[in-house]
């Protein structure tokens, strides 16, 4: 609040540079003050990774389900109406800043809000996202995704944890055992992500850790995408018999979740071990219990 008050005061506005930063000893995130876009991660060794977080939605396909080409997107089937998702505008401003955590916040007051956190001494970036209620006033079902945009040259290859069993290499429009011809260029390249999806090149590796099972891919070079929330208005005729249209108090359901982004060097064994531990730490988080201590003084405790 004080920073905002200072920013409103024309006398001290020159204290605020055009570019914002949040940082700890492991990394520094840079945000363009004009566009509000995250643009860069600088690491202690002096290397930079271009980086951005953007939210999109795929409008859902609608059909009569008689043939595959006329299949609706539904609970079983992710079938977007086109290959280019619609971007949801987001712009970051500086949030809380203190001895434990620095935050960047984005909230378009509509369907997407995101908080980017960098904790002191912790070597990951945390995204606390809130998606929903998804607007269906235009009678179009929508499937929201987030994209982590980097300059990593992954050559269409990415890795997913294969339903929590092992990290498997995925390559766009390819299957390891047979020649494939995909009729669905987006959903045909989506894979289950239980805890982790990664891309890498010779210089850098980025791992996105999820707090729940999601669908994910790397459809565009250097970009990891994960599906966050869906609201659909038609059944896909695979058995459930109803549209995936969940509501709460008469509004579309709102979903809150977190991603942790871990940056490392692809050839670093210690980083590899650290990443594996971080995956489990995020999946099996400490249990927190809170109890009133009205009859227990600090000294007695």
């Amino acid at each position: 609040d004080e920073m905002r008050m200072l920013a409103d005061d024309p006398g001290v506005v020159d204290h605020f540079p055009e570019t914002l930063f949040v940082q700890n000893k492991h990394m520094k995130l840079e945000v363009n003050g004009t566009s509000g876009q995250i643009i860069l991660i600088s690491q202690p060794d002096g290397t930079d990774i271009k980086y951005n977080i953007k939210f999109y939605y795929y409008p859902a396909c609608v059909g009569d389900n008689w043939i595959a080409e006329r299949r609706s997107s539904g609970a079983y089937i992710f079938r977007p109406n086109g290959t280019n998702p619609t971007e949801v505008p987001t712009s970051y401003v500086k949030g809380a800043s203190g001895p434990v955590v620095d935050e960047l916040r984005s909230d378009n007051n509509d369907s997407v809000a995101n908080t980017v956190r960098v904790y002191k001494d912790l070597n990951f970036i945390e995204n606390d996202w809130v998606v929903g209620p998804i607007d269906i006033s235009d009678d179009v079902g929508k499937e929201f995704i987030v994209r982590y945009i980097t300059d990593i040259v992954n050559n269409g290859e990415f890795y997913t944890d294969s339903n929590g069993r092992q990290m498997l290499k995925r390559k766009l429009f390819q299957r390891p055992q047979w020649n494939v011809s995909l009729a669905e260029p987006v959903s045909g390249n989506y894979y289950p992500v239980v805890n982790k999806i990664t891309i890498e090149d010779d210089k850098a590796k980025i791992a996105v850790l999820t707090d729940r099972s999601e669908g994910g891919s790397a459809l565009t070079e250097g970009q990891v995408e994960l599906m966050l929330h869906r609201r659909l208005l038609h059944d896909d005729a695979f058995g459930v018999g109803e549209a995936l249209n969940e509501t709460e108090y008469g509004k579309g359901m709102v979903v809150r979740g977190r991603h942790r982004i871990f940056l490392s060097k692809p050839d670093s064994k210690s980083s590899h071990i650290e990443e594996k531990k971080l995956v489990l730490q995020f999946d099996l988080q400490p249990q927190v219990f809170i109890s009133d201590a009205k009859d227990l003084s600090l000294n007695d405790w």
Binding site: E2, M3, F21, Q23, N24, K25, A75, Y76, K94, G95, A96, S97, G98, P99, V100, V101, D102, E103, R105, D107, N109, A113, T115, Y119, K120, D121, L122, E126, D128, V130, P133, S213, F238, G239, V240, G241, L244, E246, E248, Y249, V254, R256, K277, L280, Q281, L284, Q285, P286, Q287, V288, F289, I290, S291, D292, A293, K294, D295, L296, L298, W301
Partner: protein
């Protein structure tokens, strides 16, 4: 065991492919939620009993604490929102040490978090994002979250004592640059506050010691002047003076820069004010506290 079996049973049902992928009908979804929530709530009984045994250490005494499960996924917790002091128990079920940020929903205010050894640890109050406050299902008055890093040993639990403080003046600390120095500075303040809390009033020695510690921090950093600058701008209204301020300025251009002689004069004046405060009322003594500004 029968309570645990209820949770095992619910988890068994959740292995159905429709439950995993979300392809069940909506009324089935609601039923799954009902089953799982009831089972988890009942299973908490086991944790509650275990923690109470560990904490009270005497089976004959009634439980001191009653553990609640909070809906931290929507930044909501009835206990921490309503209580002036509460205990946070964190259990690490991994076989290695973890450093995990803990976020506890509270009302706006000033809070102190104590580690199991009684040390005041660094914490931060962060406002809850508006999008979370707008969640349609959320029924909570929490506006902020206390955030601190829990350093947890393998397969262990830790208790943290959180208390609401009525007055605190460590505001205006700009941590947007030079994080390392600022965090050291912040730790010093926390140590200082802890010392302060143990005394009925402040003596000048503590302030001078404190100045010395700041001095050391600043001397390590070549970006600031070797001699730190202190200014005193607190008001003196006789016996009931309200404030005694020490501002540590990092930029000599921005403020009053006393020389050694002036500094001695300030210390002398401060000593007189504090001596004066020793003889005043408890209320007056309570009003004596420093503002430490970076």
């Amino acid at each position: 065991m029968f309570v645990l079996n209820e949770l095992k049973g619910a988890m068994g049902i959740m292995q159905h492919h429709d439950a995993i992928t979300g392809t069940e009908k909506q009324h089935v979804t609601h039923d799954y939620v009902r089953l799982l929530d009831a089972a988890i709530e009942d299973a908490i009984t086991i944790a509650r009993q275990a923690f109470n045994k560990m904490i009270q250490g005497d089976a004959l005494k009634p439980p001191i604490l009653s553990y609640d499960r909070c809906r931290l996924n929507e930044s909501s917790c009835h206990t921490s929102e309503q209580s002036q002091q509460f205990v946070v128990t964190v259990y690490n079920h991994l076989a290695w040490q973890v450093n995990e940020p803990i976020r506890i929903p509270v009302l706006d205010g000033n809070y102190a978090v104590y580690a199991p050894n009684g040390d005041l640890i660094v914490s931060q109050l962060v406002d809850i994002p508006e999008a979370v406050k707008r969640l349609p299902s959320r029924k909570s008055s929490a506006t902020h979250e206390i955030v601190f890093i829990a350093h947890l040993h393998p397969l262990s639990y830790k208790n943290f004592y959180v208390t609401k403080k009525h007055k605190i003046t460590k505001r205006n600390i700009d941590l947007s640059e030079n994080k390392k120095r600022k965090n050291e500075f912040y730790n010093d303040i926390n140590d200082y506050w802890k010392k302060m809390n143990e005394k009925s009033f402040i003596d000048l020695k503590a302030i001078e010691d404190n100045i010395g510690s700041f001095n050391n921090v600043y001397k390590d950093d070549v970006k600031v002047p070797e001699e730190p600058i202190f200014i005193k701008n607190g008001g003196d209204s006789g016996r009931d003076f309200k404030d005694f301020n020490i501002d540590v300025m990092k930029d000599s251009k921005s403020s009053y820069n006393p020389d050694t002689e002036q500094l001695e004069e300030i210390i002398k004046e401060a000593r007189r004010l504090i001596e004066d405060a020793k003889h005043t009322s408890a209320r007056g003594r309570a009003a004596v506290f420093p503002k430490l500004n970076d």
